[in-house]
Amino acid sequence: MTDQLLPAWSEPFVGARRGALRHLPPFGALDRAWATGGSDGSGVTVAIIDSGVERDHPAVGGKLVRSVKVELAADPDDDPVVLDDPDGLDVVGHGTACAGIIHSISPGADLVSVRVLGPDNRGKGIVFAAGLDWAIALGAGVMNLSLSSKSDALFGTFHDLADRAYFSRALLVCAANNVPGNSYPSLFASVVSVAAHDLADPSAWYYNPRPPVEFGAHGLDVDVAWRDGGRMVASGNSFAAPHIGG
């Protein structure tokens, strides 16, 4: 009864139901070697569109090659502005957590931080879209998005951006949103949408053939990097996404 009430994108990846996914051909043999083939991510640039990434955090391994922040323009008619953020600052800790997970899986990948937490409710969707636009133009191969917009007014903007990323051979890896309703771009077909499973294994990945959430990854009680060189134990779909992004 309760199961039916919950908007549970994690549900297919949890407990007994996981058994049904394990035997789905052709993914029964999916393992780390198949997925990565010994690659360490060298030559790939991963953009982390989030709260910033702390440049000197040990978990990032010195792989943060560029850091920018996106802000609303002073004139509301103008597009948001992308500014260099040489200090490599994370205002929350969340972006550093995602960067640390990606680095732990793909230590050779270059990381680029795009800080997009908007200063107000009205501006944040526009700021987020501008950050994504910038990362696509930069030529990042993978983009980690642990945030989404619910704004219908921005449906077209995000759809165009998802198409542009797809045709630029860039993969958008989005954390699924457990709140029912719109969530852009995580619900678009051309992106990879990820929810958390409840195993304590960072190398366990599951594929779900029923859209919109395609993959399940480690997202419960994850030991993550946090701001000011710290660490935190955290849970959420936003920590599952970088396990796939990495």
Binding site: L6, D120, V179, L220, S235, S238
Partner: protein, 275 residues
């Protein structure tokens, strides 16, 4: 020639000033009404956090709502013995865990908070309570994000499970519906925007409407304005029961009479030396 050309421009400037003053007055009244109306939704929000504390067997639960005019998240209600210190706390929408959940729309749980002394200290300074674990979910629907629901310290477990995060989301949904059903979300900006759009019709320029709304609300959110503490007190008074209101009214009556009598005596003393 020059005079006749500049006169309409001067008139237009004067009109702009008057129109903006009128819009500012509307914006100010709408904001006062919004703050007074917060009380009607607070009863439902309080029942949501109380239910969350019972169901999660948690130490505390609280709800922070976004105040557009001031661009701040403000904790409005809390339940649980350890939760009360948070009420009234204000947080920037792009800072900290609550700000992140609000800005990203993404539900999060963190554990081992005490293992990070900086986080624990800053939290304790503000709320007098350091939790072990927190789950925070956005109050969000297709019309936008209204705030954040937080649940602190499940007594039976050291951390919150994925199921807990989803269940907290269901509670957040209840709170969102309650707020939408009340008039709280009709903030001054939304009200002005809809009035201006309906007056201007289909020809209204989006940027024009936004510019007018922003001009009208430029000073509404000034936190130093002495009007807001008064409005908060009146809103609190509206939430009081009939007996409490009667008592307060009697008390005010006595105070007013005392104060006017005191003024009379002081005035008498002042007059005396000159007389």
């Amino acid at each position: 020639m020059t005079d006749s050309a500049s006169r309409p421009r001067r008139r237009a400037r004067a009109f702009n000033g008057e129109a903006r003053a009128a819009l500012a007055a509307i914006g100010r009244r709408a904001e006062v009404a919004r703050r007074l109306e917060l009380g009607s939704a607070e009863a439902v929000l309080r029942s949501v956090v109380e239910a969350a504390v019972v169901l999660f067997e948690a130490e505390a639960a609280s709800i922070a709502l976004y105040e557009p005019a001031r661009n701040l998240l403000v904790f409005r209600v809390a339940a649980g013995e350890q939760g009360q210190g948070v009420v009234g706390l204000e947080i920037a929408p792009d800072r900290g865990l609550v700000g992140y959940v609000f800005s990203s729309g993404q539900a999060l749980a963190i554990a081992d908070v005490r293992a990070d002394p900086r986080f624990g200290r800053s939290f304790a300074e503000q709320t007098q309570y350091v939790p072990r674990s927190i789950v925070a979910v956005p109050l969000v629907d297709e019309r936008g994000t209204l705030g954040v629901l937080e649940v602190l310290d499940k007594r039976s477990e050291a951390t919150f499970s994925l199921r807990d995060i989803e269940l907290a989301g269901v509670f957040a949904r209840q709170a969102t519906v309650a707020i939408r059903a009340s008039r709280v979300e009709r903030d001054a900006a939304t009200l002005l925007r809809s009035v201006l759009r309906s007056l201007a019709g289909d020809d209204a320029s989006e940027q024009g409407v936004e510019a007018l709304v922003e001009a009208a609300l430029a000073e509404v959110g000034d936190p130093d304005d002495p009007l807001w503490p008064l409005v908060e007190q009146i809103a609190a008074l509206r939430r009081a029961g009939p007996e409490q209101q009667e008592l307060l009214s009697a008390l005010l009556d006595v105070l007013v009479r005392q104060s006017s009598r005191g003024r009379g005596r002081r005035a008498g003393r002042l007059r005396a030396p000159g007389g």
